[in-house]
Symmetry: C2
Subunit: 270 residues, 2 copies
DNA sequence: ATGCACCCTCCCCCCGGGGGAGGGTCCAGG
DNA sequence: CCTGGACCCTCCCCCGGGGGGAGGGTGCAT
């Protein structure tokens, strides 16, 4: 079992609290190579110096860092770069936590027995030319992208003639990636950096207003969807949000108001 | 595409932000049966009334509730029972969050360039008879089990002759389930409820002391493991912890002290 | 009647593990 | 030196909750 301070896989497992199976997997993945592999028998032998490495892997895995990322972290020799990669992951965990919190809020509202009825208005919107920033964005990156885009938009537009808005492609929610556009109406849309004029087509919108922060905005979306179907309409095109009152206006989330407009067309009943 | 307020799967997907694939999977799993399935074509048709259900599923999945549990929640008609099941899951999320926090603390300590050397003592411990509570426990349940067992132990032992301690089977960490024993030394161990006398065998222990709360105790375990190997010893039996200073003594975690003793035997060098 | 968007099923892949089969190795005791 | 048992090896299948893509049927407007 022992040859001069070298550990068989079972012993190493006991010392690191990683299962034998998992240690073998980490070997195959090139994450944690045994110090010695007996060529004849295939036996893996580890040294005590490998214990800290095994522990780092263990903790990273507890944080759900994917194995390739763990490898990248271990391979980066500079402690600074290593810390940066770890911090990067911690930010991702934080974002996930936010999503979890939002899901809990939504769920609470959904499970409430009495759902207040929704005020929905059918509104014909003419074609409008606005200053816009647009791109193909992954769902996970939408928030960060939105922050950058609005900042650029705000800097480029001097005299807005209305509140900012956004268009969100359905593919964003169905495939996790889609076209996103944020805009601000203004008399003469400039062309600066990513900001450029865009003419939004005329549409008929089913419009409702969501109150509060966006944690449970998906619930309002669902209710609007129900209304659309109940009124024999079908969805046609990217959803339009208008930020009537938002964090730019007040820090009190309960006063925030977001208008949700779903482009619709009348279904010829048959 | 439309037949009297009934939605094809694509339309329903757009309305609920669930992918078509996922909706089909939920159908197969019996989670969300379409209102109508065309017998000839196999086409699935949904109604607007199913949107809230789809949303509940979506939120639960965002909370990583397994599909069978989602089904259980949906099937429970009583809102109270439903809320209890959800609350149960939220507790599990909370526990996971604790583990994540601990992993971050451990990682921070592991990635610190300078590791202070560990004070380890080799100590021969004679056989002792103690009052104990023991059971086979899953790793996830250890904390809850420990709380119950110590409470029972404290109530049963009047005149302890030393601090409380615990024995943790290696299988607990390797297989996620193992034998756990908590004890308190006393002159005449009683036999009350789960509390009974146990004679702990004499062992040679490699002993070190962990300072602070247990978030990063795994790191100390690893360092002790390194020391054990470096001193040509091998692990033999369940680890022994002794809670010198703990939450029972003070609320300040920085003053807590846990003695970790790893049973060892000398390796005949060859 | 034709085009085309939509829908169907079926199979394989992803990740990070676990279970178990079937067989080789190490080593202490006799 | 032999034997038994603990230990180790590889290989294949399974899990959950999806995604990609092939190959083929349907619904409906023009």
């Amino acid at each position: 079992m022992h040859r001069g301070g070298v550990l068989a896989i079972g012993e190493f497992s006991r010392l690191t609290h990683l299962s034998v199976r998992t240690l073998r997997r980490y070997h195959d993945a090139g994450l944690l190579e045994p110090a010695i592999v007996d060529a004849a028998s295939g036996y893996r032998y580890y040294t005590a110096e490998q214990i800290p490495t095994a522990q780092v892997i263990h903790r990273l895995r507890e944080l759900d860092v994917p194995l390739p990322d763990v490898q990248r972290i271990l391979r980066s020799p500079d402690p600074g770069a290593r810390a940066a990669l770890v911090a990067d992951h911690l930010r991702r965990l934080e974002a996930e936590l936010d999503r979890t919190r939002a899901a809990v809020v939504s769920l609470r509202r959904l499970l409430q027995p009495a759902q207040p009825p929704l005020d929905v208005e059918l509104r014909a919107v003419p074609a409008t030319t606005v200053a816009a920033v647009e791109d193909d964005v992954a769902l996970d990156d939408v928030l960060a992208w939105y922050a950058g885009a609005t900042a650029e938009l705000d800097a480029a537009v001097d005299a807005p003639t209305g509140p900012p808005g956004g268009l969100y492609d359905n593919a964003l929610f169905e495939d996790g990636r889609g076209h996103v556009l944020v805009h601000r109406p203004t008399a003469a849309p400039p062309r600066v950096g990513r900001v450029h004029p865009v003419t939004l087509p005329a549409v008929e919108l089913a419009v409702t207003t969501h109150a509060g922060d966006h944690d449970d905005i998906a619930v309002t979306y669902g209710q609007l969807g129900s209304w659309v179907v109940a009124n024999a309409l079908a969805v046609a095109g990217p959803v339009r949000e208008t930020y009537l009152v938002g964090p730019r206006d007040t820090t009190d989330p309960t006063t925030w108001r977001t208008e949700i407009g779903w482009p619709v067309f009348r279904v010829t009943d048959r």
